[in-house]
Symmetry: C2
Subunit: 151 residues, 2 copies
DNA sequence: TTCAATGCAAATTTTTTGCAAAGTC
DNA sequence: GACTTTGCAAAAAATTTGCATTGAA
């Protein structure tokens, strides 16, 4: 995956988004940090590097990128939107203990045809996109908890 | 489906929720209106019948019922939570044109094993619940639109 | 009378909006 | 110079909180 400024700039231009410094930096941040951050996190992580950055610009940018289809808006949290530059079809799992969000590949589940969910027609409804959210306790938290109860 | 006050009251009590009038009415409303309403809608629909109702109580109640597992909180919308008293495993489809949310049964999709998503262990992560959200244009809006373009 | 449920108002949080200033071609 | 992008402050919208009041066992 090429996350150079040039590559990012090209992607933006190919989608008709003029590659301003702020947009490049925000998209680059999301490309290199697959933690599904919210607007506040993106802003705080970048404002030191780009002191002129405002949160409004982060809001504007993620909205534009999502509308153009190069960014996913996740509603896995009820309180805030999170963003994912990885737009290939995959599943999101949120640990209800630590709050981390993990990517899960379709092929890890023994469920055939999941990818057909998008672009299907069901009862006359035309599907354009899908989101699968899983909730539970992640590996790390399970381990941490079992260690704690052992002592 | 029994949506009598007695039946609702029994369900609440079986979950350790004391069946106050407000809770009964809110749950009853959600049982009989499968439109996946948000808090504001529930409040506005009930406040005429129960003038003493406050929005805080609606918030408190849906949170309690969701925590006790007899209500689903849907995050299909990025801006607000919606609620569903139908807790049997199914999929939600939101029309991006009219905003309506439709229930989709698992068996309408030719995907075997979807129900296994919940209660699975994936890469060491323990799954407890899942939400599948589909987005697109609903049958009604497709028809409406094609009529419009025909004229 | 004790404890839980409720209502109100204020606070908090997330997101949007209006508009002026700055930047770009 | 025209058009777009950005920043700031205010507004809007959703939700939570503190606390006093009400209500029920």
């Amino acid at each position: 995956m090429d996350t150079s400024t040039k590559a990012i700039s090209d992607i933006l231009q190919s989608k008709g988004i003029s590659p301003s410094l702020h947009r490049i930096k925000i998209y680059q941040y999301l490309m290199t940090h697959r933690t599904h951050p919210n607007v506040d996190t993106i802003y705080k992580e970048l404002v030191n590097e780009i002191p002129s950055l405002s949160k409004t610009t982060v809001y504007n940018t993620v909205k534009t990128l999502a509308q153009k289809g190069i960014l996913l808006e996740l509603t896995i949290d009820s309180t805030e939107s999170r963003y994912d530059a990885d737009i290939h079809p995959h599943i999101h799992f949120r640990c209800t203990s630590c709050g981390n969000i993990y990517d899960i590949e379709y092929n890890l589940l023994n469920i055939k045809g999941l990818e057909k969910l998008e672009r299907a027609t069901i009862e006359g409804h035309q599907i354009h996109s899908s989101h699968i959210y899983l909730y539970g306790i992640c590996k790390n938290c399970l381990t941490r908890h079992s260690k704690k109860t052992q002592n």
